[in-house]
């Protein structure tokens, strides 16, 4: 019965495999004006381009303040881009048109970071899941079957036991599964998840990640997953994008990023993640000094150059590096790879 109502996402019938295409996206927030004096902009997302294929899961890794949440909010239709364009399922979005934004929000499901904060405490599970159906004018008769289907999909079963519970009666893992169910209920084409497991215990994290992976494969969904925890990435997605100071500095396959990181920032990031081993006690990690730059006045040239151990004065601090492709399918914005191949010593 379940299998009959449940169907993979209905993508538009085209040859085009690309679901989401982001071109030179800029999202700037204006600082408070003082009279007619213009104080400047916070460049939260500054010239980002990427493509997301149908049925593909990608991860965006970056520190807080690197603009990854703003990027996500723009894809969700919650922030308005300053420049560039977003093409979703072949439709170029015009953010000034309400119909486009509403349509986009229908197509994209959102899994928030803090499950308890994302669920209204005064609503039962049934009401939480019904809310998006009411807002998006789904026929009344369809409500219950859809709610049941979503809850079964995230394994909150038996469904009857959960329908009348309030969020505080659920454990952290169950709350997060409810959030996933809510994101699925409108049958979106794309799910975006903002650090979906960072608030959960280690023992539950894997369960949620596996669940999301299974749903993604079963429904042939596209997923954008945001995290700062590189160690969980390899269990989740196919491609990884590394974000630093409002730019994507490296885009590659998961195994490639772990075995062959090219950008000095990615290398530093990987180097600073401990594995649980007693030897860590005596090991001092090599961490680049300093902090991510201000996004109001980003440094000229490569944004990582003030912290970079491989800085080439005269090049890195004056000109912004374009994306190079030293290995097939591995894009990196770093002048070290300007000759196309790998430099001799890294």
């Amino acid at each position: 019965m379940k299998q009959e109502t449940l169907s993979p996402v209905k993508y538009r019938e085209t040859e085009d495999k690309t679901l989401l295409s982001v071109r030179d996206l800029r999202v700037w927030f204006e600082l408070k004006r003082w009279g007619f004096l213009h104080a400047g902009f916070v460049r939260a997302v500054d010239g980002i381009s990427f493509d997301l294929q149908k049925g593909q899961a990608i991860t965006i890794v970056g520190e807080s303040g690197s603009g990854k949440t703003t990027l996500l909010r723009t894809i969700l239709g919650l922030a308005v881009p300053t420049g560039g364009e977003i093409i979703f399922d072949g439709r170029k979005l015009d953010f000034t048109k309400d119909s486009d934004v509403t349509w986009l929000r229908w197509q994209v499901g959102f899994v928030q970071q803090d499950p308890y904060g994302a669920l209204a405490p005064f609503m039962t599970v049934y009401r939480i899941l019904r809310e998006p159906l009411i807002i998006n004018k789904v026929k009344r008769g369809e409500h219950m079957p859809r709610i049941r289907e979503a809850l079964e999909e995230v394994r909150l079963t038996p469904v009857e036991d959960f329908l009348n519970k309030y969020p505080h009666m659920l454990s952290g893992g169950q709350q997060q599964r409810l959030v996933v169910a809510r994101a699925l209920i409108l049958r979106p084409m794309l799910i975006v998840a903002d650090e979906p497991v960072s608030m959960l215990d280690a023992s539950v994290r894997v369960e949620i990640l596996e669940l999301m992976r299974k749903i993604q494969r079963d429904y042939d969904l596209s997923v954008i997953y945001i995290t700062h925890d590189l160690s969980s990435v390899r269990y989740f997605s196919e491609r990884v994008f590394v974000m630093y100071a409002a730019k994507l500095v490296e885009m590659t396959e998961v195994n490639e990023v772990i075995s062959n990181p090219l950008h000095p920032y990615t290398q530093a990031l990987l180097h600073s993640i401990p594995d649980p081993e007693p030897e860590n006690l005596t090991q001092i990690r090599d961490v680049p000094a300093g902090e991510p730059p201000s996004l109001v006045h980003p440094p000229p040239g490569c944004r990582f150059h003030p912290r970079c151990p491989h800085i080439m004065t005269g090049l890195c601090d004056t000109e912004e590096p374009p994306a190079f492709e030293p290995c097939p399918g591995h894009l990196v914005e770093c002048w070290l790879y300007k000759d196309g191949g790998l430099p001799e010593k890294r």
């Binding site: 520190e63 807080s64 454990s171 952290g172 893992g173 215990d201 280690a202 023992s203 539950v204 994290r205 894997v206 369960e207 596996e210 700062h228 925890d229 590189l230 160690s231 969980s232 390899r234 269990y235 772990i258 530093a268 990031l269 990987l270 180097h271 600073s272 993640i273 401990p274 594995d275 649980p276 081993e277 007693p278 860590n280 006690l281 005596t282 001092i284 990690r285 961490v287 680049p288 902090e291």
Partner: protein, 326 residues
């Protein structure tokens, strides 16, 4: 300001049969139950476990920072051989809290007073101490700032002028300023970015080595805990289930829960598939009799209906019937 360690050879901290229960509307919450352990001088301990297993309650019980709804608070806490539970509240406040044991509380970097200069907040424990002039206190504050890696002109700044990592360093400076014998770190890096976290862990390792400080690190992030731990205390549902040396715990823990917990940690460099633990930890309102992990344990047998004591296995102790014969 270096304190000469007391002449006693005994352990730095000894906790015996510590209980901490809270009143709640639904009944009594058994947050810490029958906790016994020893921490030797010059060693650091990590307390790991899932959220709600009583890690923070244990720290608060040691520092006697208790809320009003305490139901039972009993046991013995010996610091350098002195029984802290026998001290009056006033004596504990004057002699122990922040003098001998200080704490970096969870998310403390966000609880700095926004309208007071950072230097003043860091020097405050010394300013309250009547033996110190303002000048001396600020000199010492500048010294600890240097130790944790912040330039001393930041003493004059307000918290909003500091980045998250710097605020966390200031909080660590605050815990260091009175030169205590034990510092409790409650999730000191969990709100920070990976690079900042690694850099703060480097600082803490340096402090441990250079000033031979004793840390008690409370965290649910097992990979990070390995950065600072000489030994590991693993808690489950209010009880200590395993107390092992780090060399033992991270590669091959003894207790089935600790084994499951280690298996759930994703690793970056080693190829393995992380597992999750089915089921949920028991409610601390009316925990099951017998072993508390039995319901989720794959290795349970008849004996598990009785509560196991802590068995000694070599230098380790483990609360599991599987190790009855050592």
């Amino acid at each position: 300001m270096r304190r000469t360690p007391p002449a006693t050879d005994g352990p730095l901290l000894r906790v015996e049969d510590l209980f901490l229960y809270f009143h709640a509307t639904a009944g009594i919450v058994r947050a810490v139950e029958d906790v016994t352990f020893e921490l030797q001088r010059g060693r650091s301990m990590a307390i790991v476990g899932e959220s709600g297993c009583g890690k923070t309650s244990l720290a608060r019980a040691i520092l006697r920072l208790l809320p009003r709804n305490v139901h039972t608070y009993k046991g013995r806490v010996l610091l350098n051989g002195l029984d802290l539970m026998k001290l009056s509240e006033e004596r504990f406040r004057r002699q122990i809290r922040w003098r001998e044991i200080s704490m970096v509380a969870q998310a403390a970097m966000n609880s700095l007073n926004p309208v007071v200069r950072v230097g003043h907040q860091v020097a405050e424990p010394l300013l309250l101490d009547h033996n110190m002039t303002k000048r001396q206190a600020f000199d010492r504050a500048a010294e600890v700032f240097r130790i944790v890696g912040i330039a001393s002109d930041f003493l004059q700044r307000y918290p909003f002028e500091l980045s998250g990592g710097m605020r966390q360093r200031a909080i660590i400076a605050m815990a260091l300023i009175t030169n205590p014998s034990l510092i409790i770190l409650d999730e000191p890096t969990s709100a920070l970015d990976v690079l900042t976290q690694a850099s703060i862990m480097n600082t803490l390792k340096g402090l441990k080595k250079d000033l031979s400080l004793n840390f008690m690190l409370i965290t649910h992030d097992i990979a990070t805990s390995s950065e600072l731990a000489d030994e590991v205390l693993c808690m489950y549902a209010g009880q200590v289930v395993e107390h092992s040396k780090a060399q033992r715990f991270y590669p091959s823990p003894l207790h089935p829960y600790a084994q499951k917990l280690m298996a759930s940690v994703p690793t970056l460099r080693v190829e393995k598939k992380p597992e999750f633990i089915t089921g949920q930890p028991p409610s601390l309102l009316n925990p099951p009799t017998g072993c508390r992990f039995a319901a989720r344990c794959e290795k349970r047998f008849e004996r598990c209906e009785e509560e196991p004591p802590l068995f000694r296995v070599g230098e380790e102790s483990v609360k599991c019937w599987l190790y009855e014969k050592g």
